[in-house]
Amino acid sequence: MTTATTGAAAKAAGRTKPATMAQALQRAMRDAMAEDPTVHVMGEDVGTLGGVFRVTDGLAKEFGEDRCTDTPLAEAGILGAAVGMAMYGLRPVVEMQFDAFAYPAFEQLVSHVAKMRNRTRGAMPMPMVIRVPYGGGIGGVEHHSDSSEIYYMATPGLHVVTPATVEDAYGLLRAAIASDDPVVFLEPKRLYWSKSDWSPEAPARVEPLGRAVVRRPGTSATLITYGPSLPVCLEAAEAATAEGWDLEVVDLRSLVPFDDETVAASVRRTGRAVVVHESGGFAGPGAEIAARVTERCFHHLEAPVLRVAGFDVPYPPPMLERHHLPGVDRVLDAVARLQWEAGN
């Protein structure tokens, strides 16, 4: 879990800019595969097609079908086979095609991937990445837009990581592949085509897992968020300046382990917090975040930690999803409810 650079590979490959998040993810796998022959990419349509989101584009061509493999269509089988491959010393990087299509693999994930190291007293680690495109906002029909992060967060033994920027997509995926633990790597679908001037010359950072980052410093209140909701929060923070609020925005990046240090430090400073995610609110990630922030910062809080989340309903059809997804207005409404009259 160290911060390393991979300048050589980066230079050799001659990246162009700006790059999308999908491209950064592809590059992360490519660099990892070039460096480490035990890294194997597998899943439905990841080979010849390069994945339905083209995230594995070109890998089968460059590394051969044995390193980037189109599997039969069976998610439990894919993850189960990956467990066996990891048992033999490989580092599988598994792609689940969509969030809801990872559910068939749930038993393998919970009962084996998450527990294998523990049940064997460390003898049999599971260095494995399970990439899951997640969340909505892309007009997908039912079963294509679930925010399933809570299922993974609630399962001890897994790391749960989600990038919100192009840079992090690269840095965190490299770290996830390098990790000796299983990492559920949640890729925000609606940010796949987000772009950044991701410099091809500068050494690419491998981010440490488990560290949140302050994306925008502020003093009035803290917005705690991750993945697809980061852009929403940044926009809300800009809009809030008009109301005289200077909002700090924390991007969690890693849901497990949770970076209490960074988050609590921010909330202690600002005294108010709103958690923002598009996953359902009830028993969602925000519940844990609100609860632990409150436990740690109770006497610094001027108001209860509020949650802005998707509604507690099955994900809506494309034409209605905009009413479901927390947008800038809902974030600002929550900020307004932070009992400003009561405190400072």
């Binding site: 349509d45 439990a76 068939p104 029909v141 079963h143 509604f311 209605l320 207005d329």
Partner: protein
Amino acid sequence: MQQRSSTVQEPHAETAHRPTPPPAWRPRTDPAPLLPDTEPLRVLGTDAVADADPALLRRLYAELVRGRRYNAQATALTKQGRLAVYPSTTGQEACEIAAALALEERDWLFPSYRDTLAAVARGLDPVQALTLLRGDWHTGYDPREHRIAPLCTPLATQLPHAVGLAHAARLKGDDVVALAMVGDGGTSEGDFHEALNFAAVWQAPVVFLVQNNGFAISVPLAKQTAAPSLAHKAVGYGMPGRLVDGNDAVAVHQVLTEAVARARRGGGPTLVEAITYRIDAHTNADDATRYRADGEVEAWRAHDPVLLLERELTARGLLDEDGRRAAAEAAETMAAELRERMNADPVLDPMDLFTHVYAEQTAQLREQAAQLRAELEAEGESR
């Protein structure tokens, strides 16, 4: 021989050289009749077609032409932004139509996400069938009214539903049959296995139709299975497997009709594999040139289901220019109506988000609904 001591009971020694199978071993079913024929059944272009009812042939033809046009229209609607996505069944119309026509009204159809055409051929309003793909709601119809289960996106998960429904009907004494559709890729899912096993153990009146169209998105059949055929899986469940040319509408109709009849008379489930081909890309969003050669598609165009039937009808004098024109015109009318109706924006009520989550709205959802209502009112005011 010395005196023997043994911890286990010893029968007479003279039986030693008579090999008997273990006590529990009773081959319960003869596997031979469960195995599919070595070649897929074809009727069109063979002598067997002489037995086919001309009315059926004409009906199939009209439906195929309509189905082809429906596929073209739905694809066009994606280009006009009227459908979020469309998985076409161009080239697979024989399977879609035959599946619908093999069923009685009281029977149930369990379509996969690709099978809107089968639902339409069963009589469902195409606009309702396309609701999912337009994106105004998930299921656009009342499944009980039409006895068509919701179009199913999580692959193969509808198969155990079909088994459960057929089983329930049988328990109730209704002679209802369920026909469930799945793709070649879907057969790899555990749910396929579990459904077929339940069906066979319960002798449920269900017919499984696998449309083997050669691909699961980009993945060709050879990477999906090493089996002699998908129909060969049947024997492992103790049910008959049938192999049929999926582009021969008459053959598919015949095999499915027989399987439905068998199920109805208590003969249990059947697995049917129809060999067909997806002429279009996986959906409009897919680029099929990334994973298959044009030549392959061309070979299949020569084996087109509409063509095969048209040729037969023409050769037998059952179809003339007028007939063709009539079929084409009927299809055109359907397409025009569909286009027009799909051009209207659906009327949406965002509050529907909360209406059908539970039988009774919970307090929690009432709160959230109130929030959305307030937002919508504020939005309305600000407009």
